[in-house]
């Protein structure tokens, strides 16, 4: 294997002007240039190998071993998954459950708050004020007719028809 300086020098040697530069006096050479190692050309020699005619010989045992390995790995994965997934699922479900419980508590509190608001809105005092603002008055007893099919609803029915 060639060293980096040999490789760089080889690159420069392939250039046309390289010969011209080599003709320059020694004193003009780059002082920072690395020196070549001994036997650079030997280490840098690349042998070309042609494997195009090489064909792999079928090996039934290897194939079987491969499938066995795949099966064992799958089984291991399945077992591992069988062991770990429930725990993970349980944890995820726990998160979800706690989240839902918190949501439930929040909704219960909100419902109670709304119940309170409704009760305040339906307080007799407030309704009384609203009625007064709209000039509504409490009906007298003789203005109330119970439409229960009795005799006294005749006048009320007549009033409605009118």
């Amino acid at each position: 294997m060639a060293t980096l300086p040999a490789f760089l020098r080889w690159m420069e040697a392939t250039r046309p002007e390289a010969s011209v530069k080599q003709a320059q006096p020694r004193a003009m050479r780059d002082p920072y240039r690395l020196r070549a190692l001994p036997q650079d050309n030997v280490f840098f020699y690349c042998k070309k190998i042609d494997n195009s005619r090489l064909v792999r010989e079928p090996d039934p045992q290897a194939k079987s071993a491969c499938w066995s390995a795949i099966g064992v790995a799958s089984l291991a994965v399945a077992i591992l998954a069988g062991v770990l997934v429930p725990g993970a699922a349980s944890t995820i479900s726990g998160y979800r459950l706690e989240s839902l419980r918190a949501e439930e508590r929040r909704l219960v509190d909100e419902r109670r708050s709304l119940d309170l608001q409704e009760a305040e809105l339906l307080s007799p005092e407030r309704l009384d004020k609203l009625a007064h603002n709209q000039n509504l008055v409490t009906p007298k007893s003789n203005q109330v007719f119970h439409l229960d099919g009795g005799q006294s609803d005749t006048a009320a029915v007549a009033m409605v028809k009118k």
């Binding site: 706690e98 419980r101 305040e120 007799p124 109330v144």
Partner: protein, 667 residues
């Protein structure tokens, strides 16, 4: 060389494995509990499960008191790094500028208190701001706050203290039922304190919901009318109770002055927090004559028609004491027992009480429930006062006969009047209708007087609200028959040791008379002048409350009344069945109505709503009159003999529902 290295490596691995195994064994076996406990301390959080205080509903399911979760900010003053900085920070975050928080914190710190509530019932925004502070000495606690959305029935409900523990009213009386016990749950959390799993370690026990017999609509009307009348009459206080005489259900328990139960008490002796309906007894005055006459009807041969000598308003009692009646009621000569009640004659009541006797009077006062607790679950109930028989003076019987020398509460009066209203049974007042959905059973009633006596007393009390009675016209109801009794008791000045001219004006009544649906008792304390008498001061409140109650409870009318003009215009000729119905209706007191009917008879241009035309009976014999009336479904009250001379109402007038025709015959 290689083998030696392998041996060294194996030994090293073996030692390392042994060390690991030893450590594992130490962690998992030897110190398992310790590390498990430490892990739990980091991962598990003990979280309280709130158990809200029981909600209180009225009889229609409207919430009168309910609790809502809220949050409070607390600190440990002894662990505050700098009191000044802490106070300033908290004042800014909690919007408490100028609240003197520094002084309070310093005081708490000086006393060594480890717990100080900075602010209660903070808003969600304030809670968020506090949690965002990068300090660990502030804590936000989940608490609960009691709300009273209707702001009525304050004396019934009472209130709670800062720890939501009842301090008055039914909140205190039924504290054990209402208060909830918070539970606990263990929460497994992750590193971000998010919950992973939880399980209850202590189950919460929410407070029991209560449904009261109170009707919020009636309660509101009663409080409104009571307050208006107390102010109008210049009284100091007042109370009103509406009770179902059959079941004992208390529909209204109002007291004035009142307060907002949402506000904490300003002082321990706040007069507005005194429950005048159950907690303060007073001399009932003439209302008590109902008891005197009931005892007389039960234990003596006196009847409503028995004549009582009222001594023209002057009665000499043993010991030289003289009762003058002229000032209050006018001097009466001889009155029937019915008129004694109607005119509220004190001397007549004393005479009747004398006939009843001490022992019987004492027994009946007790049997009517006086001088005993009613058992209502409101703390501070007064049982009133009635001297033991052996401590009665020579004049005690006379005093008690007219409602003096005995003190009662408004609720006790309602209970006693219910005896008359329901046919003679003493029914214990019931304030709690349901406890957690289960109806509270009625207590078995106790027979106090015979049904006949109760019926007679109702008729006698009806005269009180008729013309000439002390409750007329204030207690008269449109469309409904009513009965009642006024009471005006002079207030005894304990300092001056004499009776003043301030009164306890009361009215105890029931309606409708045939089958009373409600008993209403109203008392105004500290009235004065003629307008402070029970008939003038308390009866109008009875009128307002009873009218509203009958309308809300949809009680059918049992008396005719004037119809609105719109209906008069729509009215056509009455049908025959309407006529029959009018005849079947329970009529008012006939003799008294004669005057009243004349006053309220329809004018020529007026048209009554329902009822047949009155035929002309003049000149007809009694047999013919009765036959004619029967054919038309009318009820005639004949008087005298011979041929019909005078009739009332006059011929051609429209007979109102329940009205009867009075015909006088002469030869």
């Amino acid at each position: 060389m290689v083998e030696r290295r392998l041996i060294v490596l194996v030994v090293a691995l073996a030692l390392w494995s042994a060390a690991v195994i030893e450590k594992l064994a130490s962690l998992q076996l030897v110190h398992h509990e310790e590390y498990a406990r430490k892990a739990r301390a980091h991962q598990e959080v003990v979280r309280p499960i709130p158990a809200s205080r029981g909600t209180i509903y009225d009889r229609n399911g409207q919430p009168l008191a309910m609790s809502l979760p809220t949050q409070s900010v607390t600190v440990n003053p002894t662990k505050l790094p700098d009191l000044g900085v802490a106070a300033e920070l908290l004042e800014q975050v909690l919007h408490m500028r100028g609240s003197g928080l520094y002084d309070k914190l310093k005081q708490a710190c000086d006393k060594g208190r480890g717990y100080f509530i900075v602010k209660r019932q903070i808003t969600p925004e304030e809670a968020e701001n506090v949690r965002a502070l990068p300090v660990d000495w502030i804590d936000v606690e989940n608490t609960s706050q009691r709300h009273y959305p209707k702001k009525i029935a304050a004396h019934v409900l009472g209130g709670v203290d800062f720890a939501e523990k009842g301090n008055a009213g039914i909140e205190k009386g039924l504290e054990e039922l209402l208060h909830g016990e918070a539970g606990q749950e263990m929460l497994l959390t992750d590193v971000k304190r998010r919950g992973i799993a939880s399980w209850q370690s202590t189950e919460p026990k929410p407070g029991t919901a209560l449904t009261l017999t109170i009707d919020e609509r009636l309660q509101f009307v009663a409080e409104r009318e009571l307050a208006a009348q107390v102010v109008a009459k210049g009284a100091t206080s007042g109370s009103a109770v509406v009770m179902n005489p059959s079941t004992g259900d208390i529909l209204v328990l109002a007291s004035y002055p009142t307060f907002d139960p949402n506000e904490p008490p300003q002082s321990d002796d706040d007069p507005a927090r005194e429950n005048h309906a159950t907690g303060i007894a007073f001399e009932p005055g003439s209302v008590f004559k109902v008891i005197t006459l009931s005892a007389a009807l039960e234990t003596t041969k006196l009847t409503p028609a028995s004549l009582i000598d009222c001594g023209n308003g002057i009665l000499n009692l043993p010991g030289g004491r003289v009762v003058h009646e002229a000032e209050a009621h006018g001097g009466y000569g001889i009155l029937s027992m019915a008129d004694v009640l109607k005119h509220s004659s004190n001397i007549g009541a004393i005479r009747i009480g004398t006939v009843v006797g001490k022992q019987n009077m004492y027994d009946y006062v007790r049997r009517f429930g006086f001088s005993q607790y009613t058992g209502i679950p409101i703390p501070g109930e007064s049982h009133g006062s009635l001297r033991p028989l052996i401590r009665w003076s020579a004049n005690s019987l006379a005093s008690i006969s007219m409602g003096a020398e005995v003190s009662v509460t408004t609720l006790q009066l309602a209970q006693a009047i219910s005896v008359v209203a329901n046919g003679g049974l003493l029914v214990k007042p019931r304030l709690v209708l349901k406890r957690g959905g289960q109806t509270v059973p009625l207590q078995p009633p106790v027979r106090v007087i015979q049904p006949e006596t109760a019926f007679t007393m109702r008729k006698l009390m009806e005269a009180v609200v008729m013309p000439g009675g002390t409750g007329y016209p204030e207690a008269r109801l449109e469309g409904y028959s009513a009965a009642g009794k006024t009471g005006t008791a002079q207030i005894f000045d304990t300092t001056a040791k004499r009776y003043t001219h301030n009164y306890n004006g009361s009215f105890a009544g029931m309606t409708p008379l045939t089958n009373p649906s409600i008993v209403v008792v109203v008392t105004l304390n500290g009235t004065h002048g003629d307008l402070g008498y029970g008939g003038r001061a308390a009866a109008p409140v009875f009128h307002a409350i009873a009218s509203e109650a009958l309308r809300i409870m949809e009680v059918p009318r049992d008396l005719p009344d004037d119809a609105p003009k719109t209906l008069v215009a729509a009215q056509k000729t009455p049908r025959d069945d309407e006529v029959a119905l009018a005849a079947l209706g329970e009529g008012p007191n006939i003799l008294q109505d004669a005057v009243d009917d004349a006053r309220s008879a329809p004018r020529p241009n007026e048209v009554a709503v329902l009822g047949p035309t009155v035929p002309n009976f003049k000149g007809m014999t009694m047999r013919d009159v009765l036959a004619e009336a029967a054919s038309r479904g009318l009820t005639v009250l004949p008087d005298g003999s011979g041929t019909a001379r005078i009739q009332d109402p006059p011929p051609g007038s429209i007979l109102r529902q329940g009205e009867r025709i009075r015909v006088r015959f002469a030869r």
